[in-house]
């Protein structure tokens, strides 16, 4: 395991280093699909410059990172490239360990269980999917801070899987502090930790509520500490509207691969607040139904939540997508039940190729307009949603087969087919 992993790391680092030094790095760091106003490196440099001048980095609407990030980069700005590569490696190690721990299910049908041999290769596959994913490489070369966010989320997942309640709460609060959306990962974390400690998920039991109170205390406590620390670092509260207000109220409508920009560009002011609420609730809304359905399988719930966040957040980039795509090899045993994988991969591939073409036609050639670019954005997001819902279907179907047997027969003995109603 160590040798292929090291080889993989070497290849990944080489590719990134080569791209860092080439002329493509400036081109990539300006692509709107790879950087967003929240994560762009140009803006971090701008914020650092303002900080050095003694002015609040949040004056002017340029910088939207949290104060801890700015101080982190204050010390690391010369080693920026190395930082990003290290965060990538850290990410990979975390994912690898997580993958080893996941999914030990009781065995019913021989065909559906995974052999230890298959599971042995999963961490390597996860590492490969993350490191060699072109989306990750582009994100790293553009020095988007998305890589750091991904690293924190990966640390959170690792600490949850290991069963460490305190660390899980701390990392989750760090992730929420960076961007609000990982708040929804509270639910799967709680479910997993309760499962590990054999606390039944029952509203009437006192142990259930006691655990929730403990976790909430740790989470809110660390969040409070971090927020106050940020206040003391910069001496003012104006990072709150700059960071969280920016994420929630979406004032910047630069085109990206998300769904917000086109709608809000053409919206009348009168309705803006309403639709803003609708779009933001959409991200958080799926927590409750998914938690109820997947309360026995919190690890899959984490995957679903990550995917939902990446698709519906206000400023997604390809770095967010690569995070949940890195988890796909963990569910490789679901491949036989996936129905649309061919269509989804073709559409994702075609859309990724068409993004720069239509951007060129819109901005440089002037022959197209924003409708064309948004059409590709919509298609891309539809393909992602189809992918996620396909995996969900496959997961549920496998559970069904585990309970009722693999080859179903109708009452008269002929082979039955399962139809999702």
């Amino acid at each position: 395991m160590a040798a292929p992993l090291t080889l993989l790391l070497l290849v990944a680092v080489t590719v990134r280093a080569a791209l860092f030094r080439s002329s493509l790095s400036e081109l990539i760091s300006e692509r709107v699909e790879v950087v967003s106003p929240l994560t762009a490196w140009k803006r971090v440099i701008e914020g650092l410059a303002l900080l050095d001048l003694g002015v609040s980095p949040y004056s002017g609407d340029v910088f939207h990172e949290t104060p801890l990030t700015i101080y982190l980069f204050h010390f690391l700005v010369d080693y920026a490239e190395v930082t990003f590569m290290v965060s990538v490696k850290k990410n990979v190690f975390r994912k690898q360990k997580f993958a080893l721990e996941a999914d030990r299910y009781p065995l019913d049908c021989l065909e559906l269980i995974r052999s230890p041999k298959e599971m042995y290769y999963i961490p390597l596959k996860v590492a490969m999917f993350y490191l060699l994913n072109p989306f990750t490489i582009l994100s790293c070369v553009a020095k988007s801070t998305c890589g750091l966010n991904n690293a924190i989320i990966a640390l959170f997942i690792l600490s949850t899987i290991k069963g460490n309640v305190l660390l899980s709460a701390i990392f989750l609060s760090l992730a929420t502090y960076q961007s609000i959306y990982p708040l929804t990962l509270c639910a799967p974390a709680l479910l997993y930790l309760m499962q590990r400690q054999y606390i039944p998920v029952n509203f009437r039991r006192a142990s259930f509520w006691w655990f929730i109170v403990q976790y909430a205390f740790m989470y809110l406590g660390s969040l409070f500490v971090i927020i106050c620390l940020s206040f003391f670092l910069l001496g003012s509260w104006d990072y709150l509207p700059s960071v969280y207000g920016f994420i929630l109220s979406v004032p910047d409508l630069t085109p990206n691969i998300g769904l917000f920009w086109y709608f809000f560009a053409e919206m009348f002011e009168h309705f803006r607040l309403f639709f803003l609420c609708v779009f933001q609730i959409n991200v958080f809304f799926y927590t409750i139904p998914l938690s109820i359905k997947l309360k026995e399988h919190p690890v899959f719930l984490i995957f679903m939540q990550l995917a939902v966040i990446s698709i519906f957040k206000s400023y997604p980039t390809v770095g967010d997508i690569s995070l949940y795509m890195a988890f796909l090899p963990v569910w490789s045993h679901l491949h036989r039940f996936l129905r649309n994988i061919f269509l989804v991969s073709c559409v994702l591939l075609a859309c990724s190729a068409l993004f720069p073409v239509l951007w060129h036609l819109w901005i440089y050639a002037g022959s197209a307009n924003s409708n064309f670019y948004y059409a590709i954005t919509l298609l891309f997001n539809v393909a992602q949603i189809l992918l996620v819902s396909d995996y969900f279907y496959a997961f549920l179907r496998r559970e069904h087969h585990l309970t009722y047997g693999l080859y179903l027969k109708r009452k008269d003995g002929s082979e039955a087919t399962l139809v999702l109603k």
């Binding site: 490969m128 075609a350 190729a353 068409l354 073409v357 050639a365």
Partner: protein, 596 residues
Amino acid sequence: MGLLSDPNRRRALISLLTRLNTPICIVCYMAGVAWFMGLAFEPFTLRTYMSENAMGSTMVEERFPAGERALATGREFSAHKKRTGGMPVEWLMKTMQAKGLEVFTQRFSRTLPFPDENKERYMVRGTNVYGILRAPRAPRTEALVLSAPCSPGDNNNQAVGLLLGLAEYFRNQIYWAKDIIFLVNEHDLIGMQAWLEGYHHTNTTGMDWSPLQGRGGSIQAALSLELSSDIITSLDLVLEGLNGQLPNLDLANLFYAFCQKIGVLCTIQGKLQRNDWDSVSGYSHAVQTMMLMVMKQASGRPWGDHGLFLRYHIEAATIKGVNSFRQYKTDATTIGRLLEGMYRKLNNLLERLHQSYFFYLMPSLSHFVSIGYYMPAFGLLAVILLLRALDLWVQLSTPPQRTEDGSSPGVLSLLTPLVISHLTGVALYMLPIRFQEMAVEHFPVSETEAVVLTAIAVYTLLSPGTEQGWRVLKLVAVLYLAVLLGCTALINFSLGFILALTLVPVAAFVTPHVPKVLSAFILVILSPACTLLFSVFFFQELQEMPISFQDGWLLFLSVISQGILDHSLYGSLVYPLITLLVYPCWLLFWNILFWN
């Protein structure tokens, strides 16, 4: 989504598609080709019409009187040009200043990567001269450009003369709302590129130029004039620009409307429009005109000095005066009136031309085919690739133990052909220029291609593989080709369609089990290089100047060298596209054919 979730209907549809895969592919191919040929048939096209309101309704009375004086100026220009042996900069500056323009010059120099044999230049050094007519009553925010090239020998003297005559006439009018820039550029496209880069403060091609001292506002439209005789019989409109980009159709409509009004014969692709569309010869005439436009657009080179303006979102066209054996002759005053009318209409624009189509094909000057009508032809060809991909996917998923893409033995045998073919593409891209630095003689493109092809042939004949492996490689190659052709067709439809015509049959039929020698022969015939060779011969046929095989071969080599020069001088994308993306894709299919 009943189709995606109902397993019975899905299974039925998929089995239908896999059973009838080959017949459907053949039908789609024939339908695509038939659709494309049918585009030139007149009832399927639309008449052109002016879409921009600001240019439609004003009545303009053209009064340009001084055609003879313009020709005299042209003769003076020619004399001074002969005397200085290049651009007569002082004379031009003096003349333009006398006519009341603000005159500026720009120097530029460029060393070509290798000597250009067509135009016989290697280290180019020159000067552009331009004069700005300031709009008397408007703020200086917008501009129009009229340009004429300073060509060696006896060419385009009358164009410069007419430009100066128009400058003098325009200077006395009070209705101009935009600045007009009269530009005389040296070394045609290189000078134009230097001027445009200086005007827009960009430097994408590594040319050396002095900054522009004077500017107008943002340029709304530009016309380039090519006139080499005192009397003409028809005016030819050239639209194709760099990378197959076309100006807004309204510019062509404007030209056609004025030609009708003034009574000048106008042609496109050098062919006059015919009225008998229902006869075979009439239809073939329209097809020839359309195919000439397709070939010119697919080459990706600018076919007039206007071609470089389009990249900066400036609508531009070239008007060429043609003197051939026709009865009715037009003099310079009439051409001046036509240009005056066009510029007065362009003066009325409130915003850039954007109402009409940017993507179109013209079987004649009064009829056009828009993107909505010609894209289905390409779509039918792309569907073939998707059907094949679906077929392969189904074949790959049916055996009970299929190796997944992630498992180790499959990945390596898939990656090796991909990496090697792309490395070959990179070599083909970089070697011709590197070899030129070492070899001093003629341009060694044929040697390079021969070496590369031999290397690949040797490699592919020795590579091992599994029965499943070639299916996976073919799936990847077919999807790669589909995405590549789709993106190409969006940017340059003609290039995408021509590549699709030859590469889609290759992609569809090639497997390791077809007869090797015959398939290898067909693969070579349909390769990008041979397609280019056939296109060269076809292009000459369409222009009614057929050439012999020897001349054709030399022309083919010069076309390749021109492609490389265009790429390094103006940023044309055809050469990198073919070498870095299309050629590796073709090599993958070669690899599949020789899979063991």
